[in-house]
């Protein structure tokens, strides 16, 4: 799963994880994000570019401003894979124990 590796590399940075946590509550502009973190506006823009490149956020125009929001598909496939894995695996293990 190459996309997942790319996304996880992008989230290896704690500032980017915090930015993503803020965005899951509501879409925010670069300026609004910069107000919440001890990081300059250009630095926020750089972090957002990395997150966007990894498929974790997307931007859209909202009136005159540009806001960023979470792109949940970024990890949905991996988590569905892991969730479903244990449902299937443990059901099989349970049947095995009753044999």
């Amino acid at each position: 799963m190459k996309d997942a590796a790319h996304a996880l590399d992008a989230l290896g940075n704690p500032v980017r994880r915090e930015i993503l946590r803020s965005l899951r509550d509501a879409p925010l502009s670069v300026g609004e994000i910069a107000e919440r973190f001890p990081v300059s506006r250009p630095a926020v823009s750089r972090h957002l570019r990395v997150l966007e490149g990894a498929g974790l956020v997307e931007s859209r125009a909202e009136g005159a401003r540009n806001v960023y929001c979470v792109r949940v598909q970024g990890f949905a496939a991996v988590r569905e894979y892991l969730d479903e894995f244990w449902d299937v695996a443990l059901a099989r293990l349970e049947r095995l124990s009753r044999r």
């Binding site: 799963m1 979470v70 990890f75 569905e80 894995f85 095995l96 009753r98």
Partner: protein
């Protein structure tokens, strides 16, 4: 973080043996990586956790990081991500009468720390609800 538990027939020693020694039988057939539906899945005390096809090809599925029979097993887990970004699986075995409760906790490791960040906390139980709520929010 994913938490799942299952109640197995038999005592903790038997549950431990089934989990660690019979993974070939419970590992989902759709999650074999070597293109051999009858590959073996091996979880070893020495630390290896891997799949082996009948023709001898092998693929690492993770690494055993704690082996404490019959109570506790911990593994780095590669399926779903990769060896550079392992997730962490902890399995505990608890006696309950003549049965055993096996509980699996599956979460991120340091290299996969962002895996669950996108999840909205209000919807822990229903991933689908989170997805559609977030999608709607994005499309508004």
């Amino acid at each position: 973080m994913i938490r799942r538990s299952v109640r197995l027939a038999g005592d903790v020693h038997r549950a431990w043996s089934l989990f660690t020694g019979a993974a070939t039988e419970w590992w989902p057939p759709s999650r074999r990586h070597l293109g051999d539906p009858e590959s073996e899945v091996l979880i070893e005390a020495a630390g290896r956790f891997f799949e082996r096809a009948r023709d001898g090809r092998e693929a690492e599925l993770g690494r055993v990081t704690a082996w404490e029979p019959p109570d506790r097993l911990e593994m780095d887990f590669y399926p779903g991500t990769d060896a550079a970004h392992p997730t962490r699986v902890t399995v505990t075995f608890t006696a309950d009468g003549d049965e055993t409760v096996v509980e699996v906790t599956h979460g991120p490791g340091p290299e996969s720390a962002g895996l669950f960040v996108v999840r909205a906390p209000a919807y822990e139980r229903s991933w689908e609800a989170v997805l559609s709520a977030l999608r709607e929010r994005c499309q508004r």
